[in-house]
Amino acid sequence: MTQTIATDRTLGERQSTILSTLAACMIPPQDGLPSASDPRIVKEVLALLAGHAEVVNNGLERLHGLATQVGDSAAETLPAEMLISLVATLRTECPAFVTLFESTVAACYYRDDRVLRALGLPDRAPFPVGNDVAPTDWSLLEPVRARTPFYRTV
């Protein structure tokens, strides 16, 4: 992964736990598809998020604040449904964090070999194999060809 952001910053254990819990809430396992909290996937997620410590810290702090208000408990102990509803609130209050988190999880999840194979997509880089696109049936253009030129001449 050439673009995994290299950083000597790491997330704390509690931060990692809550982020993993959030990843599991976002994309749970289903029908052969892994969860986004799968160890291989979440390791990449955490490595990328570590490069955005300020946004992550702000988001998690606010999330903990919301968790305390609704459940008087730590966010990572809340049921998934409740956590998801808190994220909906967080989306308004801390949009930078939610956007970053969702975008990062999607980037790591949807390039995982197991996910791509389960979705029937090639688990490889586009180059050098490329893709075959069927030749076009240009008879589709017949009604357009029948038109007289309509661009304005000057």
């Binding site: 976002m26 994220v87 975008s103 390039r111 180059f127 050098p128 240009w138 589709l140 309509f150 661009y151």
Partner: protein
């Protein structure tokens, strides 16, 4: 500062779409030509599509502030509904463009005469026609002859196949009786001039590892260098210098080691893009030009045009195989290109049908638009969304307004201390009416094509690499920066050869036209060498 004693004949700033074309053309003269480029060559093996993380490579983002390479300069577009994108390096923005390659229409050069809006260009489509043809030959353009929506052209390579997605949308246009045609695309669909054929990798917008896409690092530059042009990379020009007579003396640039040089030249040609060219002119102040070089008209940086755009996404029940094939090149429609006063606005727009994204971009887009929920519903929603969406982009003509401009941002300098830029841009009333029409028509055709749902029209936050008008050409020195062949009114050995010259934007991607214009400017220089600096 190191000052080279060598005075070259021609100094070109910028090695992108325009700089490459003008350099190649001027090699006919046997003059000594040097081109300074702030970025570097991109190696084919560096392109994202060679790696598994191809959808997550910020170093190939079109947004300079995200890319944040040494050669990029800060662009503050916070107040603009349209976000400029570019690339700095050999090939310039052709490295990341989608290779959608329409030409401006004849009417685009006469909007004042025909429609009473904007200004007429001092040249016509007919003046550019031979240069369009030369440029098509150099770049290699795929398409199908006979489009009734555009002037005829010859020498096209076989068209890019429409694929399932393109054919599906084309049927929608047919059901409504609207025009469509396969996009002309600067893509080698068969081996061409040493470039291998397109492999349908998909995301041309992050560069072409195959080299089938016509970026100027693989088209013009190899030939220009073979014919003697010296291309110096990682050399950032800070200022155009003047001699005592008020003529351009050359340029001060900073090399990759941070060493400052002055390169002297008899002729200086700016080809730094619609942002880079005014930035450099505005940064070149002197007692003679306190408001920026060649800016006695006050129009350097003004009349910025970025195109007004709509984006509508239709969701279909069947897979569209949209991730296969050049993302930006399927088909276009000129049904609403020319002015029809009954529509309530002047001028018009092109519809461009965009293929689908890879899974990461599809998921990120779906999440951002609230189409992909968290939790157990996520997987089903992704399967319904992925590879089942077709996007129609409306590219509309925005009329030039002096309030739309580029100004220097001294608070945010680049890595060499040169000011960044601020984009001051708003959508005009005519654009807003046009966008409403385009959004409604895009929705109509997506439904006619079988879309079961169509997203609301997006007009704000869209990206555009179409940056035009910021040093416009014209016959009146009070109303333009250069004359009708790109020579600055105020400095007679200083030329501009890029999209800054555009007087109107048309409703199409500008690369084909800006390159034809660069070849036209070069030809004027060649034809007038013995009287080039005369009044």
């Amino acid at each position: 500062m190191n000052t080279t004693n060598d005075t070259v004949d021609v100094l070109i700033i910028g090695a992108g779409a325009a700089g490459a074309a003008v350099a190649w053309s001027l090699t006919d003269t046997r003059m000594r030509i040097v081109c300074l480029e702030q970025g570097d060559w991109v190696r084919q093996s560096d392109y994202p599509t060679t790696g598994r993380d191809w959808e997550s490579r910020p170093d190939f983002s079109g947004v300079p502030n995200v890319r944040n390479r040494r050669e990029d300069y800060p662009v503050d577009d916070a107040a603009s509904p349209v976000k400029p994108v570019n690339f700095n390096g050999v090939g310039g923005s052709t490295i990341l463009y989608m290779a959608h390659f329409p030409r401006l229409h004849p009417s685009d050069f006469r909007t004042r005469t025909l429609d009473g809006v904007g200004d007429d260009w001092p040249i016509s489509y007919r003046d550019l026609e031979p240069f369009f043809a030369t440029n098509d030959r150099m770049m290699g353009v795929a398409g199908l002859p006979g489009d009734p929506g555009c002037p005829p052209k010859a020498g096209l390579l076989p068209p890019v196949p429409l694929g399932t997605l393109g054919e599906t949308v084309a049927r929608g246009f047919n059901r409504l009786g609207w025009h469509w045609w396969p996009s002309e695309s600067a893509i080698a669909t068969v081996p061409y001039n040493g470039r291998d054929r397109c492999l349908n990798l998909g995301p041309c917008s992050i560069g072409c590892a195959q080299g089938a896409k016509a970026s100027t690092d693989v088209t013009y530059w190899p030939e220009a260098i073979r014919r003697g042009v010296e291309l110096r990379t990682r050399c950032r020009v800070r200022e155009i210098t003047l001699d005592d007579a008020g003529m351009a003396r050359g340029a001060v640039y900073i090399d990759e080691h941070g060493v400052e040089h002055e390169q002297k030249a008899h002729i200086v040609i700016l080809a730094c893009s619609g942002i880079g060219t005014p930035r450099l002119l505005l940064n070149s102040t002197s007692a003679r030009f306190p408001d920026g070089l060649a800016n006695r008209s006050g129009l350097v940086g003004k009349n910025l045009m970025l195109h007004c755009m709509t984006l509508n996404q239709g969701v279909f029940e069947q897979p569209l195989k949209g991730w296969q094939g050049p993302i930006g090149c399927a088909l276009w429609s000129k049904e609403f290109y020319e002015t029809d006063p009954s529509r309530g606005y002047a001028r018009g727009y092109t519809f461009e049908i965009v293929r689908g994204n890879g899974p990461v971009a599809a998921a990120q887009g779906g999440l951002a638009r609230g189409l992909l929920p968290w939790g157990t519903g996520h997987h089903a929603a992704f399967r319904e969304l992925y590879d089942r969406t077709a996007t129609i982009v409306g590219v509309g003509e925005d009329l030039a307004e002096e309030c739309n401009s580029i100004t220097l941002d001294h608070a945010h300098p680049d890595s060499d201390g040169m000011p960044g830029v601020t984009i001051n841009y708003r959508l005009g009333e005519n654009s807003l009416r046009m966008l409403k029409h385009a959004g409604e028509r895009a929705t109509e055709v997506l439904k006619a094509a079988g879309a079961v749902a169509v997203s609301p029209t997006i007009t704000s936050g869209v990206s555009s690499g179409h940056i035009m008008g910021t040093a416009r050409m014209g016959n009146d020195p009070a109303r333009s920066v250069t004359n009708a062949w790109g020579r600055c009114h105020d400095v007679k050995n200083l030329f501009i050869a890029d999209s800054s010259l555009f007087v109107t934007s048309g409703g199409v991607n500008p690369t084909s036209t800006l390159q034809a214009l660069a070849l036209f400017v070069a030809e004027q220089i060649k034809q007038r060498l013995d009287s080039l600096l005369d009044d």
